[in-house]
Amino acid sequence: MSEHVKNAPVELLTFRLSDQEYSLDIMSVREIRGWTKTTPLPHAPSHMKGVINLRGTVLPVMDLAERLGLPPREHSDRNVIIVVKHDDLMTGLLVDAVSDIVALGDDDLQPPPESTPGTQPAVIKALTLLDDRMIRVLDLAVVVANETSEAA
């Protein structure tokens, strides 16, 4: 994997979702697993794919594309589950494929443009350019925390 070291305080894990590129702070990532069949939870929101067995604990898995409002698509063997931990809560995020780990300085991150009402406002906390591709940096707290309030 290529390294893009600059003045480097942030390391990001980048991954693909429906032809778009997203990234997460690598410090919140616990592990990356291949796709396994999930056990669906009845009456759960559609982006909740269900639960899987993570070495003896029950891990809820969320389809990140559906969570972000991207069109649903078929799962392939290349799909992976990124296991993240936020506020002691473990969640699996289903993504299309993991691409790279990049190190970025604060300067490389730009705030996202003011969002228009009705779109996902706070989920993306920054944008960055990498080899002329735009990469969206996700705010994990919003992705996961919104979920909690929806379920409650």
Binding site: T36, T39, L41, H43, G50, N53, G56, V58, L59, P60
Partner: protein
């Protein structure tokens, strides 16, 4: 966590011991209530209080020492036959025991101690002693040297100073048990003018010296008002670990004590020093006499109970976390074993091959290990029941009713976590029984019952579950009143025709309270609905049976453990699900002869002449739409809490097996009807269903579907 402080650890273990002692005390008092004349029981009770006092003294818990001391003084009087115990006294003893446990807990948690209650109780205690308490305070000195202030007015009761010669030769064991001669001598010196000389004559040459042996002894000349017994009491905790000789001065007090008590101690000391028994002559109530009984060994915190080591049950204290870890690991083992057997089966091995035989043995072992581990966590419900007997005492005193609790099946064992979480609901139910269940004394007399109300609390194992019942012999549920209240509160429509059972179950509705006026006992805004929720959270069920004029019985049925479940593994719409096996009363297959179509969306299945409504599990869980045809599907008959049955349609039954329960609490989505999850042999997660919840959900769907249709029709 801060760094472990050895003193804090000792203190913690003292409080754990206190809990045990309090339990022994409670037990003893209950025996006394049955037969007050049994001297051995009185001894046990006395020793329990005394041991608490001793330990408390060592930690400087003055309030505790003071109360325990006066309590013990009265008991001592009973023990020596000065006072004959009567009912009122036993009751007072019970209340004192309650207060003592409050003090212990208060001291442990360092909260404020309820001194006012204590003073009142002490007043009552003293009234039994007549004029004697002043003299008895002298004993406080026993514990005072352990670090309390020294200016208690104890010494003046024996005003004449005399000279005592005290020879103190500690044995090696004294050091081994963590005692400190310096402190003991310091305590001695605190009694009066004291000259202590060291006798090192037994000290061998350096080559012969065993570093762990003790060769030193001390001689002290003490000028003090204290008598020999008092001096001996300083050495009470090292009794049997040293040779002690006290001579000169006044003869030991309390000559009326039976010399028999000395025999076990004397015998033990004979080989050490022949004269010791004289010195040992029973420090007043302080040396707890230690007759050679197993109880003596258990009740004594200082470790001097060596007199009867063989009979004490050997117990290991283990941190609960470690047990939890073991339970989890065994859970993993069970899952792994299931995975292994599944893959071996798939490998197509012959069932008679060595591998398969070995696997069978492995399965049996796994099951045994699991059962044994679960047994570690199992505890008798006794401690819980004892707490309840206190609740009954307090509750009956508060409402002025004469109530006796009759516990049964105290040795029934239940998972520790279940016991802990049962305390609150049970407390509430007991209070209810005393407050609402039982009539007042006049009504009882008028009804020709005994004036004393009885609350029965029973526990028993019944077909893999624990059944706990709280029943009273009161007037039963006043059904017209209950129904009227429910109507008044708008909980049910005024014209609703309800069966007796349905009316009884109104008690479980949120916001229901039957007390005509809110007493300070029950009716604190927590109703039976809270109780039911708590029980259900434990995987249990609660039912009511009531008969007018005879009484009411609440019966709680609980799983034995929260960790494993005997489950029926079924398949619905391609998903694997687990149902608690004990709720499945029957299975059958649907054919043309036993299914009937009532109206769209409602089918019933005929079971020996009765109709049971069908719910399709796949539909209820949203896995699939309604099926056109249910022929050849499998039906599970489920027993419901209200005694009715419901039928759940599944595609096939896979297996019956023990599954390890994995909580879903931590995952952030909680589906209705889903109790927990488990991991199957193939590593997949299967959801464990709560059938009652599923069925009530199915019925409410049904209802909303009907009302929706009606609205459309209108």
């Amino acid at each position: 966590m801060t760094t472990p402080d050895p003193m804090a650890e000792i203190r913690a273990s003292f409080f754990i011991e206190c809990e045990e002692l309090l339990e022994a005390l409670q037990d003893g008092l209950e025996q006394l209530a049955d037969d007050a004349s049994d001297i051995e029981t009185i001894n046990v009770v006395f020793r329990a209080v005394h041991s608490i006092k001793g330990g408390a003294g060592a930690f400087g818990l003055e309030a505790l020492v003071r109360f325990a001391h006066r309590y013990e003084t009265v008991m001592d009087a009973v023990r020596s036959g000065q006072i004959a115990p009567d009912d009122a006294m036993i009751k007072l003893f019970f209340r004192c025991a309650d207060h003592l446990s409050d003090l212990v807990r208060g001291s442990r948690d360092e909260t404020e101690l309820p001194t006012a209650v204590g003073e009142a109780l002490l007043g009552e205690l003293d009234s039994y002693l007549g004029g004697t308490p002043a003299e008895e305070t002298e004993e406080d000195i026993d514990f005072q040297p352990m670090g309390l202030s020294l200016d208690l007015p104890g010494i003046n009761s024996a005003p004449t100073a005399n000279t005592l010669q005290v020879t103190f030769s500690p044995q090696t064991e004294l050091y081994a048990t963590g005692n400190e001669p310096f402190k003991l001598l310091g305590n001695l010196a605190a009694l009066g003018a004291c000259t202590i000389t060291l006798d090192a004559s037994a000290l061998p040459s350096l080559e012969a010296l065993e570093p762990e042996n003790c060769y030193l002894s001390w001689t002290a000349e003490l000028e003090s008002a204290a008598d020999a017994a008092e001096v001996a009491s300083i050495f009470e905790f090292v009794d049997g670990l040293c040779a002690l000789d006290i001579s000169g001065g006044a003869a030991p007090g309390f000559p009326d004590l039976p010399p028999l008590d000395d025999i076990p101690l004397g015998a033990e000391l004979d080989d050490v020093e022949a004269e010791a028994p004289v010195a040992k002559a029973e420090a007043p109530s302080a040396a707890p006499a230690q007759p050679p009984t197993p109880a003596g060994a258990m009740a004594d915190p200082s470790g001097t109970g060596k007199a009867a080591p063989s009979a004490a049950k050997s117990v290991v204290r283990v941190d609960l976390d470690r047990i939890e870890r073991l339970v989890n690991l065994v859970g993993e083992l069970v899952i792994n074993q299931a995975m292994l057997s599944q893959s071996l089966e798939q490998a197509g091995l012959s069932p008679h091959s060595d591998a398969m035989n070995g696997l069978e043995e492995f399965q049996r072992l796994t099951r045994d290990i699991q059962d044994s581990v679960m047994m570690i966590r199992a505890q008798p419900v006794k401690s819980l029941f004892q707490r309840m007997s206190r609740i009954v005492r307090e509750a009956s005193a508060a409402v002025g009713k004469d109530v006796v609790l009759s516990p049964e099946g105290e040795t029934t064992e239940v998972d520790k976590t279940v016991i802990e979480r049962l305390a609150d609901p049970l407390t509430h139910m007991i209070r209810n029984a005393v407050d609402h269940g039982l009539e007042d004394t006049e009504t009882r007399r008028a009804a020709g019952k005994s004036a004393k109300g009885t609350v029965r609390l029973t526990a028993a194992h019944r077909s893999g579950r624990v059944v706990i019942e709280v029943s009273d012999d009161g007037g039963g549920i006043n059904r017209p009143k209950v129904q009227q209240i429910a109507i008044d509160k708008g909980l049910i429509p005024a014209d609703a025709p309800l069966s007796d059972t349905e009316i009884d179950n109104l008690l479980f509705l949120p916001g229901f309270s039957t007390a005509s006026e809110v007493s300070d006992l029950s009716g604190r805004g927590v109703g039976m609905d809270v109780v039911r929720t708590a029980i259900q959270a434990l995987g249990g069920r609660i039912t009511i049976a009531s008969e007018p004029g005879i009484g009411t019985t609440f019966s709680i049925s609980l799983p034995l453990t929260l960790a494993v479940l005997d489950g029926m593994v079924v398949k619905v719409a391609g998903e694997t699900l687990v149902l608690p096996l004990n709720l499945v009363v029957e299975t059958l297959t649907i054919d043309e002869t036993n299914i009937d179509h009532v109206r769209p969306g409602l089918n019933v299945v005929r079971v020996r002449g009765s109709f049971v409504p069908l719910s399709d599990l796949g539909v209820v869980l949203g896995y699939r739409p309604h099926l056109e045809d249910y022929i050849d599907r499998v039906v599970l008959l489920i027993a419901l809490e209200d005694g009715n049955r419901a039928a759940l349609v599944v595609d096939e039954i896979d297996d019956q097996r023990q599954v390890v329960i994995k909580g879903l609490d931590e995952s952030f989505y909680r589906a209705p009807g889903i109790a927990a999850a488990t991991i199957l042999g193939d590593g997949q997660i299967a959801l464990i269903l709560d059938p009652s919840d599923i069925i009530s959900q199915a019925q409410s769907h049904e209802h909303s579907a009907i009302t929706a249709r009606k609205e459309i029709a209108v």
